[in-house]
């Protein structure tokens, strides 16, 4: 994908697409005048044997899905080893992100760790410092949970107005998988946390030695050290063989390739929680300890990479999530926020998990300004971008959970736009 294609207001391939809505009818009856040759013609896949079960010991997607990939933006960072790529949200459905499409964010590239050589140390304010092998960890009681992980910088470039043309780029630093692992409390209890302990420092085994401070109360509450995602071992780019799962909190704290937990009585003030991952306000001060990811949503279809192709019936689809609980309701506007209707939530609605929503609607070809607005179980309502800017200014690149607007033109073309 060329750099220019992710920018907003690119030249749209209107000519070929504009006709599609009339060229294909919504459905074709057998009685129609010109029968579709595909209905009666025998296709190759009906004529010949396909591949057998010996061909793909580990399966991969159909060759017709080769555009369904993570995409990176080469100019965004100095090197691909300290960069990010994005989940193709507009190509996905349901609430599970396939492991091969979960966005990546690395500070020193992907550590390729031999699990037999990996160790987890717990030290600091504990009764008994411990070192665990992966075998040790696999012999402790396990838990299974589905959680979203969102990078604090997701939608960061949109603070100053509509920038990137596609939800993969504006909102694609989020994924949602089922984790299996050991609760952090189980591990800490084994080491025996001292009574003056207040903070944990989580440290990765990558070349960056990525580390973050975590309040011990959160660590004892619902955090997990996970060794599996979506049923199988963690992927290398997601922290194989062991990563921290910090439900509802910013992705940077979910330390990958975790090798050490130090227990202390104050935060460590690491690079990743001081010069980075803090929100610089208009007056030059920074917000401190902005860990929780607030309620947010985005319409994934239609969106700039997935324009409307047909008049008549259509499915509007999107994702909503909250770091404070469950998604209670999602409202959708087709007219830039004047009128709202409640979307249909479908599939599991789980704590701190992506939640799928739909609006089934008929499109007569009018221009639309599409927005979605999530409300979570605490009653918090996703704000507009301007409401956020009034409080936070425009210096930050973190924690932008403002309402996204897509402009759908009469030919189906869809753009990232900024209103109100």
């Amino acid at each position: 994908m060329s750099d220019s294609s992710i920018f907003n207001r690119r030249k749209f391939l209107g000519a070929s697409l504009a006709g599609a809505g009339v060229a294909l009818s919504a459905k074709q009856t057998l009685a129609q005048a010109k029968p579709d040759p595909l209905i009666t013609d025998v296709q190759d896949w009906q004529r010949y044997l396909g591949d057998g079960v010996d061909k793909r010991p580990y399966g991969t997607p159909s060759k017709f899905e080769k555009n369904v990939i993570r995409r990176d933006v080469p100019w965004l960072t100095a090197s691909p080893e300290s960069s990010v790529n994005f989940t193709p949200l507009h190509e996905l459905d349901g609430i599970i992100t396939p492991s091969g499409l979960c966005f990546e964010r690395h500070h020193s590239g992907i550590a390729e760790i031999d699990p037999a050589s990996h160790r987890l140390m717990i030290n600091g304010l504990v009764e008994k410092p411990l070192v665990f092998t992966m075998d040790d960890i696999r012999r402790m009681p396990r838990v299974n949970k589905i959680y979203f992980l969102e990078c604090a910088a997701n939608s960061g470039m949109e603070w100053r107005g509509a920038q990137l043309n596609g939800c993969q780029f504006t909102h694609g630093m989020v994924h949602n998988v089922m984790y299996t692992g050991v609760s952090l409390k189980t591990l800490l209890d084994e080491a025996g946390v001292k009574s003056n302990a207040k903070w944990l420092m989580l440290e990765g085994a990558d070349a960056a030695g990525m580390n973050r401070s975590l309040p011990i109360q959160k660590g004892l509450d619902d955090c997990i050290l996970a060794f599996a995602m979506n049923g199988e071992a963690l992927r290398s780019e997601q922290g194989y063989p062991l990563r921290a799962v910090i439900p509802g909190w910013e992705g940077n704290m979910w330390v990958k390739w975790i090798r050490r937990i130090e227990v202390g009585d104050q935060p460590w003030q690491t690079r990743e929680e001081t010069s980075k991952y803090t929100d610089l306000l208009a007056d030059g001060r920074s917000r401190k300890h902005t860990f929780i990811m607030d309620a947010k949503s985005v319409v994934t279809n239609p969106s700039p990479q997935a324009p409307l192709k047909f008049k008549g019936r259509n499915v509007l689809s999107g994702l909503a999530w909250s770091g404070r609980g469950t998604v209670k309701r999602v409202d959708v506007s087709m007219d830039g926020g004047r009128n709202w209707q409640s979307a249909r939530l479908d599939g599991p609605v789980l704590d701190k998990s992506l939640t799928r929503f739909y609006v089934d609607f008929d499109w007569s070809g009018q221009e639309m300004m599409i927005q979605s607005r999530a409300m979570d179980s605490t009653g918090y309502v996703q704000p507009s971008k301007d409401e956020l800017r009034k409080v936070r200014g425009v210096n930050s690149i973190y924690h932008n959970n403002g309402i996204q607007t897509w402009l759908v033109r009469a030919n189906g073309e869809t753009e990232n736009v900024e209103i109100g």
Copy 2:
């Protein structure tokens, strides 16, 4: 994997494994006499940058997980195009089966279908015969559901006694994913089912033209035509671009690559529901319409491919499911059925879905006969193999949901055995 290795009672690599339980302690304290060099030594992955985000647009498992694959049994069938491979249940955790590891069963190999050319026809006893493109289907209201799919022949070779040495082979014709698609009722309502309609015939677009009869009541109740699994498009080997989802019923009815639904007033008596997929009883009669997969469970760890490696604390793990509802309880015996304890169910417990269970236990090195027994929400309790044989004889290869027994030897070696 050589053919011989899947058979029962193979020679076990006892020497190297037997020592492992004492060679590594459950955990090592920092104060121990000989510090583990891995604790202090810097590993390569801490020294050098790893791969960047540009390297893997679609991710794959770690190179250290290359044994986590589907396995087929070449001698089992005449050709790999009309054969089966098996999900590596002993390598997985949680309840989601990764799409790349979902077992395959084909009758004419994998149809590689271009979705732009695929059509679904509904004909027969309907007011208005219809043909749908994939675009048409994607514009209809969607549903998201997690369901298990089990081949009717799963555990089939075990009818006549312990045969295969590993839960991948005894129980690996099952998987569990989240589907996204359109409810079959929505499609049938569009065509207008006539009042005398009683059965549906589902037909695939593979070279076998695989077809099955389905009672219309089931079709209107909870069936789905799915285009996505685990968030992304169906895999080719699972019916891309469209498959039937028939919750709780035998896998053969979940027609892949579905191209036609005929509405009729009686079953079609196709090959797959007459000479195949019927249970031949001892007196020569066959059971008819044995669609529902009854409650079943299996201990996945320990199991012959995943022996016990350590004394002391261990995690016993397994899967349970029922085609009639949810899993209510799983009991586990360590002594061949004399004493039972309730396992801990962990993770989502969903209707007609795999359910994960655990028993956290200490092992002192004694021989064990491990069994699990599922009870579902209807009160049905998984029977012993002998109880099944008393009713069904030993001719069948279908619908074996009997209790599985693993013998764990003092050195941790685990075998498939038959008792009582």
